[in-house]
Symmetry: C2
Subunit: 109 residues, 2 copies
DNA sequence: TTGACATATTCCCATATGGGAATGTAACGT
DNA sequence: ACGTTACATTCCCATATGGGAATATGTCAA
């Protein structure tokens, strides 16, 4: 087997940096493809292709407005990623405590 | 250009489901490769290869104990993912508010 | 209908992948 | 030194990728 498709889930879809940029821009509000192209400076076909991937995993929603396609980020699809990464929270908090403990020990000495 | 390497960053590394399983298991404490193989049922070379990827992006740490290599999850490397996804939090909170508003409106009618 | 604008799709290709199988390497006990 | 245990690496291959370039589709205005 090869690597899983980028469209297989949100984890794979957001692995691509340009798609993350698009998601961040679209989080500020509904935007047309042309606006994304202008703002981020990618080629138009590239933007359309990335949007297709994001759409397939439901990371974005679309609606048509005349000749324009208006995309926006769908927070619900990002939430599982936030929750999954959140299950590791105690690990970095713990490491913070260790750093703190070392610092206190050091200042004692 | 092709797809970015799985070792290019934590986002790409965690896109692979088996690597996520390994990370979760290793979050419960230090484990040897053999323990991972037993617990998750993957082939040993497969586990070693996934661990190599995780190690390159620092999602895990290792130390040697005789013949055993003891791996553990490094929370610090997961934190940026949690924070990035967290920047979209208002989106799903907003959607929750919308659901709530609709529910209240409905119960009023 | 025709032309212009907005977006989507297709074709081509270099590149990285993950699994399977086999083999390599390192540390231990005797 | 030798055999065994524990991991790591290599080779092979089907498959998906993202960019570039070209082209197709769809919508509006006149």
């Amino acid at each position: 087997m090869a690597r899983a498709a980028t469209t297989s889930d949100a984890f794979n879809a957001v692995a691509e940096p340009r798609r993350r940029e698009i998601l961040q821009f679209l989080a500020t509000g509904e935007r047309s493809v042309g606006e994304i192209v202008m703002r981020l400076g990618f080629e138009q076909p590239s933007v359309s292709k990335h949007l297709r991937v994001l759409l397939e995993v439901k990371l974005v929603d679309v609606r048509r407005d005349g000749r324009h396609m208006l995309y926006r980020t769908n927070g619900d699809a990002i939430r599982p990623l936030h929750e999954w990464t959140g299950t590791f929270e105690r690990l970095w908090k713990h490491q913070l405590l260790q750093v703190k403990a070392r610092a206190e020990k050091k200042s004692q000495a």
